[in-house]
């Protein structure tokens, strides 16, 4: 009997290399799905392009930028930030779907690294969002958005990916806590829409009532947008002089660290407790 068993090539004790291999395998599997369900990526991109076109050509003319500057240059960093904030939805929906379809149970019945399902998911979603960002940036260039330099562009791109990584952890936690994909979508819509709209993405903060300005300034969507505008030399109308507006890059990085510090452990704990 025992002669039939294939002994596993390595011991299943959670070695780091095993954890990385397994994480990459799960990530590979997640990325394989993208060309198989192209509608997901296509509509994610179309939605962002729709926002670009709506605001650049419909509302943009009615929104003056304090201190001058082209509205398209003002808008594009905000569109990237908004897209990345919504990346949490992709992760949450993917996670919920895996739980409901029983894939997670299959993974949990295998002698694989326990962290791989989550690390693989966060890893593949960052790659996925990188792809979407590239398409959006090309769109931006086509309609006339410009940046100061290529290194600045690269730095901003990395900042966006770092932010996407944080949002993926939020998505993992959310995805493990909702019963169905539909609920995940509802929650995302209800929570993330105000977060992306009560911000500096589409309008200068000066136009908001003062009590809302404080929220909007410290909103991570705003700090990310402001950081990108500064990096790229796009118009970034100054407001109150609070830390969030004077040091947006620093505040954004702190935001991502805080998000991961909160939702990372919560997500992992939720994943572990699935056996209860």
């Amino acid at each position: 009997m025992t002669a039939r068993s294939t002994s596993p090539a390595t011991s299943a004790s959670d070695g780091l290399s095993a954890a990385i291999t397994d994480g990459l395998l799960v990530g590979w599997r997640n990325l394989k799905r993208i060309p198989r369900i192209p509608e997901l990526a296509i509509f994610a991109i179309l939605q962002s392009i729709m926002f670009v076109l709506l605001f650049a050509f419909v509302f943009g003319g009615a929104i003056p930028i304090p201190g001058g500057g082209d509205y398209k240059d003002f808008l594009m960093p905000g569109i990237f930030a908004q897209t990345i904030v919504f990346a949490a939805a992709t992760t949450a929906i993917g996670m919920t779907d895996d739980v409901n379809k029983g894939i997670i149970d299959r993974f949990r019945s295998l002698p694989m690294s326990r962290s791989a399902v989550i690390t693989g998911r966060t890893f593949s979603d960052v790659i996925y969002n990188a792809g979407i960002l590239v398409v959006l940036m090309v769109t931006g260039f086509v309609i006339g958005w410009r940046v100061d330099s290529i290194p600045a562009l690269a730095a901003g791109f990395l900042l966006l990916l770092f932010f996407a990584y944080g949002m993926a952890w939020l998505g993992v936690w959310l995805g493990l806590n909702v019963p169905t994909v539909e609920v995940a979508q509802q929650v995302i819509f209800t929570v993330l829409f105000p977060i992306t709209f009560i911000s500096n993405v589409f309008v200068p903060l000066q136009t908001l009532p003062s009590w809302l300005q404080v929220f909007a300034e410290w909103n991570p969507t705003s700090t990310l947008t402001a950081a990108l505008r500064e990096l790229w030399g796009n118009p970034n109308p100054a407001t109150s002089g609070s830390l969030a507006t004077t040091q947006p890059l620093l505040v954004t990085i702190v935001w991502v660290v805080v998000i991961i510090a909160i939702f990372g452990p919560l997500g992992v704990r939720r994943y572990r407790s699935m056996s209860r």
């Binding site: 009997m1 025992t2 039939r4 068993s5 294939t6 596993p8 090539a9 390595t10 299943a12 004790s13 095993a18 291999t21 397994d22 395998l25 590979w28 599997r29 394989k32 799905r33 198989r36 369900i37 379809k101 029983g102 894939i103 149970d105 299959r106 993974f107 949990r108 019945s109 295998l110 002698p111 694989m112 791989a116 699935m274 056996s275 209860r276």
Partner: protein, 331 residues
């Protein structure tokens, strides 16, 4: 042979906001290596909960279980290396091809990449999926999907295979095909724990059947032992005229010598027929002589419901849609 699976007084309570459900209430099991145990019971009896605990997907609230000597709570990794799981819950990825699924699970089972490829090709051939191997699983039929699911469970050549309702929802032809596949695996010597709602399926595949009700094992034995416990075959007879029901009942009691159950509404009488077809012939002859008009008469094998009535005194608390497969052996 030593026991590959042991379970001792397993308890699992699902706590809801208002009520809690005792899914397992002191379940005991033992499965010797190289044998097939069929866990038979209706929906909600606790079969899947038991399987999930044994497969290390769920922690019990009480009791203890081991697989190959490893404790399911303390040593899940050791168990995952000897276990293959397939069924209602552990699934395949419908956006990958059959080949990609098997390769992925092989790699996660810690096979090298070439080894995982080889094993995937081998299993696709074994389960008659070679041609479909490069197609996305979304395009598979229900039967193909189940076969791929089973192949996934076998990727690491497990010592123990757990199949949770492997044929539920399959059409009769796919069900027969699945039975053939499972019988082949058993011949190769794998130890199998199988859950099912169908007595016929347990009968076909299992050495020993354990009947589960309300989270406990209420009977255990070979298929023949269980069937003789419920009285083997039975005769069902529907009389046309309501006024002769009492006479029909008396005649059946005389011919068959067992307890006659009566459904007033449908005018259907049921009685154990120890003599099988011979008894049926006798009944037909007697009813004919007495001039009692028969609308329908059949000899049928016991269903899960009969086993349950006999063992528990209550019908299986199941939705009628999930009834045992229609037995084609009725006279």
């Amino acid at each position: 042979m030593p026991d590959l699976i042991t379970a001792d007084g397993l308890v699992k309570v699902y706590r809801g906001r208002k009520t809690s459900v005792r899914a397992l209430d002191g379940l005991d099991l033992s499965v010797p290596e190289g044998t097939v145990l069929g866990l038979l019971g209706p929906n909600g009896a606790g079969k899947t909960t038991a399987v999930r605990i044994l497969a290390t997907l769920l922690k019990p609230d009480g009791g203890r279980a081991t697989i190959a000597g490893h404790d399911v709570v303390r040593e899940p990794d050791a168990i995952r290396r000897v276990l293959g799981l397939s069924g209602q819950y552990a699934a395949v990825d419908e956006n990958l091809t059959g080949n990609e699924n098997l390769w992925l699970f092989g790699r996660l089972y810690r096979l090298s990449s070439p080894e995982a490829h080889r094993r995937a090709t081998e299993l696709l051939a074994q389960f008659d999926l070679t041609e479909a191997g490069d197609r996305v699983v979304k395009t598979y039929s229900g039967g193909m999907r189940r076969r791929l699911d089973l192949a996934s469970a076998l990727i690491g050549r497990p010592r123990l295979l757990i199949l949770d309702e492997p044929t539920t929802g399959l059409d009769p032809r796919s069900r027969l095909g699945m039975w053939d596949v499972i019988r082949g695996l058993v011949r190769e010597g794998v130890t199998l724990l199988l859950t099912t709602q169908y007595l016929e399926e347990a009968d076909e595949l299992a050495d020993t059947i354990a009947v589960v009700d309300r989270g406990r094992i209420i009977a255990r034995g070979t298929a023949d032992e269980l069937k003789s416990q419920v009285g083997g075959e039975r005769i069902e007879i529907v009389v046309r005229d309501r006024t002769v029901i009492e006479r029909a009942r008396e005649m059946l009691a005389k011919d068959c010598g067992g307890d006659v159950t009566l459904d007033e509404h449908t005018r259907k009488l049921t009685v154990p027929a120890h003599g099988g077809a011979q008894t049926l012939v006798q009944v037909v002859r007697d009813f004919d002589e007495a001039g009692i008009h028969i609308d329908d008469i059949a000899l049928r094998r016991p269903t899960l419901d009969d086993v349950f009535l006999e063992l528990t005194g209550h019908a299986s608390e199941d939705d009628p849609g999930a009834e045992a497969p229609a037995d084609g052996r009725a006279a």
